[in-house]
Each structure stands twice: as structure tokens, then as C-alpha cells.
């Protein structure tokens, strides 16, 4: 089996418009969650989110591109630009045919849907712009990445709600591992902060009105965010032969299904995915120093996740760190695992563990070192990234320092 490494990373999210600014914000424990600036927010009961403020699409794309690129596609392309730029790869000849793109998203072009439903229902218009379908489709971002960088190999989009990015990156990892591809551009994106996108989440009554405080006894729900994270996964021998700067190695991936409830998380399902990732990576549980938690800030997720970690790691659960960066950037839904993988890379490469901010009071059901409020210097050799989706679909990645 081929080894797989990461040779490029890119992002745009509520904490920053690139990887260095995101790392700086995570190290400072900065919060990117604030008042939502969207149409009709006065009719929402949830009025906060991890929104990318000051974003002007016209600064990055021309009019023709904007006619085809929903906000989630735009975020993807900006993150891909940074990641592929860092990798130093150009896709020509045989490499183009052996390279693909697999991305996660949950809502796809939800802003496009929202705007055009408004046009036809609210404003009573009888025609919409001709490119609504290619703009809103969930695979638009993956396709535009493949078009812009000439990635002609296996390419598709994964939609598993909050685990979409992790499932996508797991596919990319295994495709390189088994020889299906040399390079995969992977990660995910979400842009759900529109009136309909928030309204739907309000209905579930799991949203916080003031802050995301994962694992804190005072937590009162999740906060939505938006943005993208994109990575270049590359065959290790290929990366080594061209002298690429290797950010870290991807060593394992596992997924599981709770097969029980459409929204309530299961400790067993989560534990099977975590244990599966360790087994796939062929590592002892004691090697894991850091876990980037799913950590949504809901009552159910956080206690279930801590119980699963305790089950898998036993006594070692007391000596590992597990933080949730959602406290800073919010829950990016289908893009969340990708942005959160950045925290793992920062821990492995820069030896700085991102904190769980907003932490106020210990919860006996979340008795784990959540790196409260302040980032920490630590030697981390192996890190996991958890994602547990609505629908009971779990996906966990394992990374090693290179």
C-alpha cells in the first residue's frame, strides 16, 4: 500500500482568509462568531454565526465566473488556490489523468437556491437565470476545481452532512493508498448562512443564541459557520521524489454507521470509528496525543463523544488532549472536518494545540482535557480528527507528524 502525505493546505473561514491567518487566530483563541449579516435576519431567532465578514466576490472572480460560482464554490476555489499553490504541483500529462478531486459539502449551492426561491415565490418572478442548476448542484465545486487545475482523474462529491469533509478526505486517502490516484485535491466547503439555511436549523432547537461552548457545563447548543478547507493529498514516493514540503502524513481512516437514529448520536458508533482509525493506522492507542473533537457544543454530542473516547482509550483518555475549534469558527457542516484538519496539522507541525474557547465550567460527563480557552505548546506525534454526522455516519482520520 502506498503511503499518503499532505503537501498543500488552503482555507477561507471565519478565522481567516488563508492558513497562516487561521493558525494565528487558533493560537490566539480568537472567536470568529458574531452577529449574522444576512437578509431578513430580524425574522430569525438565531442571529449569530461564523460568517466570513468583508467578503467581496468581485475581488476574486469576474462576472461570468460569479454567474456560475455559488458562494460554496467560490470558497472552495480560493482554498484550492492556496493549497495547490503551496504544493507546487502543476497537472499536465500523465499526472493530470492520475489526479482527481473529492470534496465534501452538505448544502451545496444553498444560497443560490435561497435567492431563487425568493425570486419565484416571494417576488413572483416567472423566470430565473439559466445557470441556476449548474450553480447549485453539490458537485459544482469539485467540478470547477477539476476544470481550473486540469484534474482529469477520479472526481466526485460526498454529502454526509457534518461528516462530509472527513468522508471525502478518507476517500482521497484510500484512493492514493491503493494506487487509483497519485494526487487528490480534497476537503470540503459550506455556505449555509442564508435565511433558509438558518431557519431550517432553528427548527431543530439545537442552536445557541449566544456562543458555542463545547464540553463546558454551560453549553447551550451549536453555532453555524461557513467556509472551506482544501488539501493536496499526495503519494509519498511522488512527493519525496520531487522534494515537496510535506506537512504531515495521513496514516489511517475509518467510518461507521450508528444504524440507530437519524439525529441522536451513538457512543458505540463513534467508538467504532475511532477504534477503526487506530486499527487502520496500525498504531497503539497510547500514541495518540491530540484529538480534534467533533465537539459541536450540543448536550448530546459532547457527552457522547467523551464517552466514546473514554471507551476506546481507557486510562489513556486522561492523558490526551481533545479540543473543539468549533468554539472559534462555528460548525461548518459539510466543510467542518476540512477546516478542523488544520488544527491537527498545526499541532503536528507547529507543536501548538488549538484551544476550546468559551469554556466556563467543567461538566462531569465531559471529563477530558479539552485545552480550555488557551492554546498549548505540546509535542504531538499522532492526531485524530473526529466527525459524527446527523444520520449516524461517522468518519475519523489519523495523522502523523512527518
Amino acid at each position: 500500500m502506498n503511503r499518503v502525505v499532505i503537501t498543500g493546505a488552503g482555507t477561507i473561514n471565519p478565522l481567516g482568509t488563508d492558513v497562516p491567518s487561521t493558525f494565528a487566530a487558533m493560537q490566539d483563541g480568537r472567536c470568529g462568531i458574531g452577529p449574522l449579516e444576512i437578509a431578513d435576519s430580524d425574522r430569525l431567532s438565531i442571529r449569530i454565526g461564523g460568517q466570513i465578514k468583508g467578503y467581496d466576490e468581485a475581488q476574486h472572480f469576474n462576472r461570468q465566473q460569479i454567474a456560475l460560482y455559488d458562494r460554496f464554490t467560490q470558497f472552495t476555489l480560493l482554498a484550492a488556490r492556496e493549497a495547490i499553490g503551496q504544493s507546487g504541483l502543476s497537472f499536465t500529462g500523465p499526472l493530470a489523468d492520475q489526479s482527481g478531486v473529492v470534496l465534501g459539502t452538505s448544502g451545496g449551492g444553498l444560497n443560490t437556491q435561497d435567492e431563487n426561491y425568493r425570486a419565484v415565490y416571494e417576488e413572483g418572478k416567472n423566470r430565473v437565470h439559466p445557470f441556476i442548476v449548474p450553480k447549485l448542484m453539490n458537485n459544482a465545486a469539485a467540478s470547477h476545481v477539476s476544470i481550473e487545475w486540469n484534474l482529469r482523474g477520479p472526481s466526485f462529491t460526498v454529502a454526509t452532512a457534518c461528516a462530509s469533509s472527513n468522508h471525502a478526505m478518507g476517500q482521497a486517502f484510500n484512493m492514493i493508498r491503493c494506487g487509483m490516484a497519485k494526487v487528490m485535491v480534497t476537503g470540503g466547503s459550506e455556505a449555509m448562512l442564508c435565511f433558509g439555511g438558518i431557519k431550517a436549523w432553528e427548527g431543530l432547537r439545537v442552536m445557541s443564541k449566544d456562543a458555542c461552548r463545547p464540553f463546558s457545563a454551560t453549553r447551550n447548543g451549536m453555532v453555524q459557520g461557513e467556509g472551506a478547507g482544501v488539501f493536496v493529498f499526495e503519494d509519498y514516493e511522488h512527493a519525496r521524489a520531487r522534494g515537496a514540503d510535506i506537512l504531515c502524513e495521513v496514516i489511517g481512516f475509518a467510518m461507521s454507521s450508528d444504524a440507530s437514529d437519524i439525529v441522536t448520536p451513538s457512543k458505540q458508533g463513534a467508538a467504532r470509528a475511532i477504534a477503526g482509525a487506530l486499527k487502520d493506522a496500525r498504531i497503539a492507542k497510547e500514541e495518540v496525543c491530540y484529538i480534534n473533537a467533533h465537539g459541536t457544543g450540543t448536550a448530546a454530542n459532547d457527552k457522547t463523544e467523551c464517552a466514546a473516547v473514554a471507551d476506546v482509550f481507557g486510562a489513556h483518555a486522561d492523558s490526551l488532549m481533545m479540543s473543539s475549534t468549533k468554539s472559534m469558527h462555528g460548525h461548518l457542516i459539510g466543510g467542518t472536518g476540512a477546516v478542523e484538519l488544520l488544527a491537527c496539522i498545526m499541532a503536528l507541525r507547529d507543536r501548538i494545540v488549538a484551544p476550546t474557547i468559551g469554556y466556563e465550567e467543567p461538566d462531569p460527563e465531559c471529563a477530558i482535557d479539552v485545552v480550555p480557552n488557551v492554546a498549548r505548546d505540546a509535542q504531538v506525534d499522532v492526531a485524530l480528527s473526529n466527525a459524527f454526522a446527523f444520520g449516524g455516519l461517522n468518519a475519523v482520520l489519523a495523522l502523523r507528524k512527518h
Partner: protein, 86 residues
């Protein structure tokens, strides 16, 4: 603006040309307007003139909306305007 000026303005935007570079005798192919650009131009024409253009991208020759040149499009728009204002 006359119908011709409006149509030329819409086509020029799709072709990313100055309006002075779009002549009545030009074809869309000559101007570099591809099939997606054509569909977008037809949408813009419908919006600008408040008409419905009977155009099927699967078979542009199926309907009598003539797109063989800029002048033909202008004439077709004039015809639709007259028909649909009744």
C-alpha cells in the same frame, strides 16, 4: 435605447466586447458567444423586453427565433414584442 441598441448591448456583454465592436451582420459564432453565453443572452433579452423567447437549446432551429446574426435576433425580438404586447 432602440431594440437594436439594447440587443447589441446584451450580446456585447456576453462577448466581452465594446458595443461599437458588435455589428448587425455579425454572427454569434464570429463574436465568440458560446452555447452557454447564448442561453444567458436569451435570458437577458427576456428580462430586458419582458417577453418570452421560444428557444430550445437542444435544437435552436426548431423554433422560428432566428439567431443567425445580430440583425436576425433584433428582428426576432421586434416580432415577439409585437406579438406578445397584444
Amino acid at each position: 435605447m432602440s431594440t437594436q441598441e439594447q440587443v447589441i448591448s446584451i450580446i456585447a456583454e456576453q462577448a466581452m466586447l465594446d458595443t461599437s465592436d458588435v455589428k448587425p451582420e455579425d454572427t454569434l459564432e464570429h463574436l465568440g458567444v458560446d452555447s452557454l453565453g447564448l442561453v444567458e443572452a436569451i435570458f437577458a433579452i427576456e428580462e430586458a423586453f419582458d417577453i418570452t423567447v421560444p428557444f430550445n437549446a437542444n435544437d435552436p432551429s426548431e423554433t422560428d427565433f432566428d439567431i443567425s446574426s445580430v440583425a436576425a435576433i433584433v428582428a426576432a425580438v421586434e416580432k415577439l414584442k409585437a406579438e406578445q404586447s397584444k
